[in-house]
């Protein structure tokens, strides 16, 4: 049985990880850590978890980071950018697997891009060079190989929520050279949980309910992540236009993706290309004709739903990609990465079906 620690447990991604791990069949012990709430009980901060820790060896009491790392086989961190290197080093020193949910380990050796968008530099570049980008649909073998390493750092950079939805929606087109690379537009809509737990003007109910608006149109941190992965896929530099929107929903991302077809195809042909590509994936559902992907149908699950369409002009593909930003876009994918890295059933702990409503 595996001892798992969550650092930053009282943030939204941390709390979601906590909930998912408590239902994971391989969980031996769960250790929770929070810098701001040390000594408090998790269930007093998240009363949805009252009683969840009463049985077994897990405790609701939040401990400090060092203790959490010391006691765990797998460490997850859901902290703001800039804190993960130290944790990665500590995990490497003791041989723990580390899965980081911040942007710190998503850029590999490309420190320049990381620095430009995150305003920080690498103190330990070697850790970044060894890290794997944790999108299993793209990197499953590398994640498994990393997990199986007997020595050295084992660090997984868990993808951002927008990149997960965007990249999965573009992967088959990029790999299959179906899209003109110069004209990719991602118009993405996110629920408010994506902005995190801290109360702000933009997450104030009165400000965001009944309203929708784009933000960071000129540049969002997830853009370089999307471009980097797409460029890898396409084997050439891909430039994307990415516009995130804040929608009055708790959870979910719906990315409406536009690209020019590289050659003429019917909607059915394009759909079939996607369906074949993802046929063996446990968490990607390419929807049949007549269905449109929506966050509603993947809520609280680890699924990414994709629907494939042609615009009326017959030349522009419209791919809709929907995830639960907190599950496939964060905590669920982190668990999936652990499962792949440690050789567990890939669906362990994250096989729940989305509710109809």
């Amino acid at each position: 049985m595996t001892r798992c620690a969550v650092i930053g447990a009282t943030g939204y991604a941390g709390a979601e990880l906590c909930r998912l791990l408590l239902g994971h069949p391989e969980l031996g012990e769960l250790i929770l850590s929070s810098a701001s709430s040390g000594g408090e009980a998790m269930s007093s901060i998240y009363p949805n978890l009252v009683g969840a820790f009463s049985a077994g060896g897990s405790s609701a009491i939040l401990v400090d980071k060092a203790e959490a790392i010391a006691r765990a086989d797998v460490v997850f961190a859901g902290l703001p950018a800039g804190h993960a290197e130290d944790i990665a080093a500590a995990c490497a020193a003791k041989g723990a697997l580390f899965i980081d949910l911040s942007g710190d380990f998503r850029f590999g050796a490309d420190e320049a891009t990381y620095s430009k968008w995150y305003g920080k530099s690498y103190a330990r570049p070697e850790l970044h060079a060894e890290a794997v980008y944790g999108l299993p649909e793209l990197n499953r073998a590398a994640i498994a190989a990393l997990g199986a390493r007997k020595s050295g750092a084992r660090t997984i950079g868990n993808p951002g929520c927008y990149p997960t939805a965007s990249v999965l929606g573009l992967f088959p087109a990029m790999r299959g050279k179906l899209a003109e690379p110069g004209c990719v537009i991602v118009d993405a809509k996110s629920g408010v949980s994506g902005a995190g737990k801290e109360p702000t003007k933009s997450s104030h109910f009165v400000e965001c309910a009944d309203s929708i608006a784009p933000y960071k149109i000129e540049g969002h941190r997830h853009l370089p992540e999307i471009e980097a992965v797409l460029s890898t896929m396409a084997g050439t530099g891909v430039s994307a236009v990415f516009t995130p929107h804040l929608a009055p929903m708790g959870r979910g991302i719906v990315a409406t993706i536009y690209f020019r077809l590289a050659k003429a195809m019917s909607a059915a042909e394009l759909r079939e290309a996607y369906a074949s590509f993802y046929a063996v994936e446990p968490f990607v559902r390419v929807l049949g004709e007549g269905l449109v992907a929506t966050n509603r149908n993947v809520r609280l699950s680890n699924y990414c739903d994709i629907s494939v369409h042609l615009a009326h002009d017959g030349k522009t593909a419209v791919v809709v990609s929907a995830i639960d930003n907190m599950v496939k876009g964060a905590a669920g994918q982190a668990v999936q990465n652990m499962n792949v890295a440690l050789g567990f059933d890939e669906k362990a702990g994250i096989s729940m079906l989305p509710p109809a409503f």
Copy 2:
């Protein structure tokens, strides 16, 4: 392994049952039935379930009622009132357990009350006399005994959503003679899913979003059910005022319950009485001082959260009782009833933790 049928599978309660049963460890086969959608696939009506039927012996294709009953060991029905007697008779004839989610089997031998509120009469009174009201916290032994019967009808009337929240919030006070029986007020707020799947003016987004209003103030079908159970508990006739409200939420019921204390008590004493009463219940959480029950913290779980307070006058108890109307208020409780009746782990299939958001 148990073969379960859901009749009325495409209604909201039916769809929720379907989702829960697909994750139940004792499920052998799931058979779904719908009068309106026979021959269609469940997953085309509820795309959240795409892929859920691909593995194992369950099928997404909706069959007719007779076939569903013929193939099942346990039959659940989520139909409008008036259809359950025939199903109960058919189940009795073949020895299947029947759990009915309508109001048909909630009134036992009291046909007069049923007729007054539902406008129908009993065709088979003997089935009602034998049926058990399926609130496990109240009737666990009777449910288990019914399930263990070797002959005769085995019919469980699954409680209404409002009665579940209201009765659990009043049970300790009634049994402990802590409340003056003449002055019980239940001001209950329900999410829109309680009104069912059929689109109506009152469930139209534009009509109900951003609004709250009571309805059926002069009399709602759940009032006599509440009064009947409370009277049983108190050992005397209890008259309640019950006002349901439609709130702009998908799921959940919060019942704010007022009663006069029969004798002076502090809030702590009253809370302790509730906590002791429910100490052994797996699905009732009496919250500690400082917490207030809300549907938010029980969403998608089978929990009933209860918080206990005194109003500023020091004489009026205010008990807040919160459930997910579709889980503990319908489908989850039906699974709990099956578990109790058939001797399964009472939490099997319904042990999921509520998400924080």
Copy 3:
């Protein structure tokens, strides 16, 4: 033409006042003040007002409090409790009418109650003794007389939002001795704007959307205000149970009010008593049989809608009272008070019809 100042213009009540006053036919000049945003333009903080100040003598630039008072004939303040006495004194010194939206001037000479609930004492008791509680339906003559005074302080304590809804829903019953005074319960549901502009955990979209919960069950500052006014109405001490709830709506309060009938009446008789009582009121609509009051139908208007019902027990009246908390519950009522005090048409500037949705 009247020069109006709003102190605390960037709070929610202040911003709403600003919007209403800009459409008021008697407005000569509007002066806005904000301690936190002095020198900024109102329209940069509230972009809904872009362009609203371009015409006429009003300016969007926020000035300091002293300047605002110096330039105005009528001063409105929408500040937290504890700041109004100084403003009242300054207004008295220059002969300006002062309408305060905080709790500071709602308790008249009863400093003890104010101190108990607000934790502050009176520095200038004489100002409180002279102030009028600004509920026009209750105190129209006194408000007009105050406005017509040629010397001395002219201070109006604008009622709280919950007290406005609660008191208007109980006024006819109390005055007509129709209610047993010992058993009044107000179960009130408010939109999130009632909690103000400051982002907090409880106003975070993710925390409050799709959820409803009572708060401050043991005692809310509006309880003593409700009890004081009801006691005045009834001519005897009235004790009420008041439970506020936070509902996932932007605006609006719906108070579901329960009381025992002092003598047997039909619902029609009780409704007729209410309708007669309010027949001449421009802003109170007693709804006909079959309609239920809801915040939906009064949104963005100065109306208070009231529907009158009997519970199924035939003994308990259920009165539903609905207002827009920011209009009739705050800014609109403040304008109404100005209109009455200064002899304007009572509906001037606040005659807008509520939208259907």
Copy 4:
């Protein structure tokens, strides 16, 4: 004073027209018509309007279409497509101005396009040839000239909601040749009121709350309307990709519009081009740097807010255009058209400021 009739008064656009016209300073009499609710009172169907008809010559009682036309100087119709020709003919016969809110009169002489998308043909082509497309920012002079005609039909085709937002967001770019015409993408998000009053599965609260999804990706009726107007503007055929989304909001449309710049420009230069273009328009607000257009800030007003941005690639313009779909997108624009046609103040009856929340 002008006598106005609204045919289809009980639909959402009709009800909104009714509310706006009741506050119009030139209104002499308001006559309401409904095929489905003849003889009923408007205020029993829309209780927000209780009391609104008590004063003056207007009546709440719904009359038939013929009576409405006979009594009116200006006729508005808010019916489904296919009913407007007969009304136009009747209005022409008696010399009334007719403003149609359906798609029937938006395509001028282009019957082929109308037939393709609406499945109907023209019975009276001459009426279409004479009709004016009622977007005042585009066609103000033509609307005024039509209104001033002493003989012949005077028919205005009021634009669709999506076309209003889309076209206003593209007008300066098209006229100024700032956009490459071949690559225009409109990703538009609408509130649920856009789908009308009829309850349907997609407008059911439980189905659409907390969810967002595109619909009619392959072709929506508003696409040819957008393309026709843009082609007129650009003086060449423009092909657009248009993807409408249903967002969980009551009101509002936010169109996120993408186009390639025809020549290099800074965001400030592009913004200035828009600001200059619309400088004299009373209802278009081009927002300053740092602000993003959202439906929140135009709600219940006749404004169209536009914000102008460049994507990170520096080559793609991102223009955000926001309206209230029921006001500038329907009823408010219809009133604006009446004002222009009859020589009233263009802002009469529609000068209300949007509330902050």
